[in-house]
């Protein structure tokens, strides 16, 4: 029995009929074609599927699409239109590029969104705070060090823009 949901995704309204069991990540990827959000474990453990639901970083592989009814969702594809980004690359995206914060790129969209959430809470996180904040996002390539550099880079840049 399909259910009608209305979700605002990356600033655009969407109205779809979905099966109640459809996962949010499959709604984004398969129904809407937003394939930047990746599936890495299907069990909330790896963080590759992280998106914002009403500004909160959420693992979309264990949330149902119907639970997002009425919500505002931001995916990696919509990050450039976030307030800090101004239509260009978000400072966190820029940081990942500048500091070689990615190799295979599979964890990257989730890692970037988790980092954005951290920096919105805490503009100048310490190394330990970054490590703790990203502990729910796995990366098998980078050893995390350049991701930490990327987050610091972005934090500095975002602070500069606020002034």
């Amino acid at each position: 029995m399909a259910v009608d949901i209305q979700v605002r995704i990356n600033g655009k309204p969407h109205d779809n009929k979905v099966e109640p069991r459809l996962l949010l990540v499959h709604y984004l990827r398969d129904t809407l074609g937003l394939t930047g959000t990746h599936v890495g474990c299907e069990t909330t453990l790896c963080g590759a599927c992280t998106v914002f639901v009403d500004s909160k970083a959420v693992k979309s592989c264990t949330m149902l699409a119907v639970q997002a009814d009425g919500a505002e969702v931001t995916t990696i594809e919509g990050l450039a239109s976030a307030p800090e980004a101004g239509g260009k690359l978000h400072p966190v995206q820029e940081g990942f590029w500048e500091k070689h914060g990615l190799q295979c790129g599979y964890c990257t969209p989730g890692m970037i969104l988790a980092s954005v959430e951290l920096l919105r809470r805490n503009a100048e996180p310490s190394e330990a705070e970054i490590r703790r904040a990203l502990a729910g996002n796995l990366c098998r390539c980078t050893g995390y060090q350049n991701i930490i550099e990327a987050v610091r880079y972005a934090g500095k840049k975002m602070k500069g823009r606020k002034r």
């Binding site: 930047g36 590759a48 070689h100 990615l102 599979y106 990203l134 390539c141 995390y144 350049n146």
Partner: protein, 789 residues
């Protein structure tokens, strides 16, 4: 013709990143074709069982299902899973793509279902009824070798897949002359590669054109194309393999898997695109595992620490079947058993054993981390036994820099090295002497602080074809397009390594262009000439050299064209700033004009062919041997057994460097995977052959909060094996770091009389060591005396 290095050696930002940081890259599951169907597999819950019957009739009529096939249905239509490694007198262990009458590991597929929708196909899997007759599983490799153990592959009488030996030097003499012989059993545990992107396959068949296209998350598109053609018995020219973005591999995707051939077969049967995306649980159960060796070592030493000989017996747990290189991996351990030491005599005996588990195969380092780990542990055991500093023992046994190329008793020729230099630098950078003083102070207070050292050498740039199972060369094609842009086609299809950037750096410098004017194309067998792939730290040293050689050819041709037009000696022209210019007369021709001349073909030197395309199949003359030295400091919590890595200092030498930022990234990732092996990761099968670490919940890969800041630096000893002097870096961190970590843990516990700790040094293992009834508590332990700091 000189090359100005404007980009080689510089930390250029990656060309692949803009798409990946915006979610615009395409991994297999991101590809969309109309009418795509989804495949899912019915997999065995038993490690060892007879399959009495597989009933797919209910699944066949389930909503959305279009096809349901069992092993019996495809038997004869699809060949066995290929193994490229051949060891003399090796037993065969053929694996059908779907099990027919017997399953030999948990997760082995017995049926495949295809439906119109991802969810429908998963529902239908549950409707398949399989009647299994459980057999006694063979899980422990030592028990598997015993007489009377159930046999996996009849008609053989036992589970020993092969025995392999290697000996060099006078081993008898070495052990006779030894003042001491030190023995230790060392375990290299089973690991799960865990690339972030699970495997995935999509296949599409066009019956009119008789063209099968298979998209797969693989490290070896060309080899896969050949094997799919062989397995499906179709002409090879009718198969095209494309690897889109690949989300990590670490060796696990340098394989040919049943699902790759099956998806091709299903697409041909249905005439519709068929996609299969591996779940994480399937990834843990049915993508290759790594390591899993029991290594029994004996080292013969003189009283002054000189090593005379090393003997090793390996029991290698191969799992139930052979994947592409399964039997070969332990032999690499044999080749590298002497590490970076001048050990005059060595002997290796390997017994490969079949058990009811997933196959082991190449996982980052593939055979070399095992060797480095045991030889580095043995050096520390020698130091402890002779009451010497681990630094001293190592220094005493290094070959001197002038002894290179250096021949090992295992038959290798180490190309170039200066082990003393990397050791000196890591001791300086880590403040080793000061660390030892701090340690003495902490020990007085009963604190368990350990300092671990590892000096390693690895074998990479795989490799000369004479030493490889199926070709060790690599291909490149470089084409200068009529507008002056450059297209590089490489057989080294990457999965995170950044060849799109590094190969563009090489091409830009060689032709005097900008990296943005160079496009690197890979991973499409219809576009790229046959290649081998990315593994064994070979992409730059073998694939990059092939690119370099193409560029030399193009420079020669462009030089002749420009020389002809300018009336200059081609030998005196340089390529710089998009010009080809004469150093003496200062006359120049725009690069694009020379290119145009090659295509318009009116002003070419007499007899010259038009066009600007060069092809190289580069065959290396030897492997390369990167090396380095790592120091690590750990604190062990005497209450909980928790190991905290508080300092990590690495010096690595991978020869000349194309992009230092990418090299550091490889080292970082490598060290953290070693932290995984040393402290966290262990694939555990219980006595029934169930994989009880079957999910990320039970199998701990390192998280950001688990690891220390890594301090890296480099020495540069160019390789004489290739013209760019590069060696390779993809596996160095993983190979070098595991022993440094465990040596540190053992060093921390040494006041308690601990001489060895098995991998992984998990807190419960340490806790047990700390709380052995006979053990003294840390507070009672007097500081250990060490000589000659």
């Amino acid at each position: 013709m000189a090359t100005a290095t404007r980009y080689i050696g510089k930390p250029l930002k990656r060309k692949e990143d803009p798409r990946l940081i915006q979610g615009l890259g395409h991994y297999v599951d991101d590809l969309r074709l109309p009418e795509t169907h989804y495949a899912a597999f019915v997999r065995s819950p038993y490690a060892h069982a007879k399959v009495r019957s597989v009933d797919v009739s209910k699944a066949r009529t389930a909503p959305g299902v279009v096809l349901a096939l069992t092993g019996a249905d495809v038997k004869g239509a699809i060949g066995f899973v290929p193994c490229a490694a051949q060891i003399p007198d090796m037993k065969s262990a053929p694996r059908p793509v779907l099990a027919v009458d017997r399953v030999r590991f948990v997760g082995e597929a017995v049926a495949v279902i295809v439906a119109t929708d991802r969810y429908a196909v998963r529902d239908a899997v549950d409707l398949v009824e399989v009647d299994y007759e459980p057999l006694t599983p063979v899980v422990d490799p030592e028990k598997a070798m015993a007489k009377g153990a159930p046999v996996l592959h009849e008609p053989y009488k036992d589970n020993v897949a092969y025995r392999w030996e290697l000996e060099g030097g006078d081993l008898k003499k070495a052990f006779k002359q030894a003042d001491k012989v030190i023995r230790q059993r060392i375990i290299n545990q089973r690991l799960i590669p865990m690339a972030m992107e699970p495997r995935g396959v999509m296949a599409d068949y066009k019956p009119g054109e008789k063209q099968l296209t298979v998209w797969s998350s693989t490290q070896i598109p060309h080899l896969l194309k050949t094997q799919i053609a062989v397995m499906l018995r179709v002409p090879e020219h009718s198969v095209r393999v494309i690897t889109p973005e690949v989300g990590g591999g670490f060796g696990s995707k340098m394989n040919v898997y049943p699902e790759e051939a099956l998806c091709g077969y299903l697409a041909m049967q249905l005439g519709k695109p068929v996609k299969w995306i591996e779940s994480r649980r399937e990834n843990f159960q049915t993508t290759i595992h790594g390591r899993d060796q029991i290594d029994d070592l004996e080292i013969a030493v003189k009283r002054d620490g000189t090593v005379l000989g090393l003997r090793c017996k390996v029991i290698a747990d191969l799992g139930a079947y052979y994947q592409l290189l399964t039997p070969l991996i332990p032999t690499l351990t044999g080749l590298m058993m002497c590490g970076c030491y001048k050990i005059p005599a060595a002997r290796m005996e390997i017994t490969g054993v079949l058990t009811n588990k997933m196959s082991t195969d190449a996982y980052r380092g593939a055979g070399r981390p095992e060797a480095t780990y045991f030889v580095e542990r043995m050096m520390d055991l020698v130091a402890a036994e002779l009451k010497m500093d681990p630094v001293e023992v190592r220094r005493k046994n290094f070959p001197q820099p002038e002894e290179f190329p250096y021949a090992t008793p295992t038959g290798l020729i180490y190309d170039s090295a200066n082990y003393q230099r990397s050791l000196d630098l890591v001791l300086k950078n880590s403040g080793y002497t000061k660390l030892r003083k701090e340690q003495a102070q902490l020990r007085k207070k009963g604190k368990l602080m350990g300092i671990g050292l590892s000096t390693y050498v690895e074998i990479c740039a795989m490799g000369p074809s004479s030493a490889m199972p199926a070709g060790g060369w690599e291909s490149a094609t470089v084409r200068v397009e009529p507008t002056g842009n450059v297209t590089v086609l490489t057989g080294s299809s990457p999965h995170g390594q950044g060849q799109e950037t590094t190969f563009a750096q090489i091409a830009a410098d060689m032709l005097g262009l900008e990296p943005d004017e160079v496009q690197v194309v890979h991973g499409d067998t219809a576009a790229v000439p046959y290649g081998i792939g990315t593994f064994g730290s070979r992409a730059t040293a073998v694939g990059g050299t092939a690119v370099y050689k193409c560029l030399e050819k193009l420079r020669s041709k462009l030089g002749q064209i420009a020389g002809h037009i300018l009336g200059e000696d081609p030998g005196k022209l340089v390529f710089r700033d998009k010009k080809i210019l004469s150093k003496s007369s200062k006359k120049s021709l725009n690069f694009v004009e020379a290119v145009g001349a090659a295509y318009v073909a009116k002003t070419l030197p007499p007899g010259m062919e038009p066009g600007l395309e060069a092809v190289t199949f580069f065959e290396p003359t030897n492997f390369t041997f990167p090396f380095g030295a790592h120091v690590c400091v750990v604190e062990v919590d005497s209450e909980t057994g928790d190991v905290k890595v508080v300092k990590y200092v690495a010096v690595d030498d991978c020869g000349n460097v194309i992009n230092p930022m990418l090299v550091d990234g490889q080292i970082h990732g490598g060290i953290v995977q070693a932290i995984g092996q040393a402290l966290l990761e262990e694939a555990v099968y219980d006595e029934n052959g169930q994989l009880i670490t079957g999910e990320l919940m039970d199998y701990a890969i390192p998280r950001a909060a688990d690891i220390p800041w890594m301090e890296l630096s480099r020495t540069v000893t160019p390789s004489p094996v290739n013209p760019m002097g590069v060696k390779g870096v993809g596996e160095a961190g993983t190979i070098g770091a595991t022993p440094a970590l465990i040596n540190a843990v053992v060093d921390a516990l040494s006041p308690l009389g601990v001489r060895h700790v098995d991998l992984p040094a998990k807190r419960e293992r340490i806790w047990q060591l700390l709380h052995k009834p006979s053990g003294r508590s840390p507070a009672q332990v007097a500081p250990k005396k060490r000589r000659a700091r």
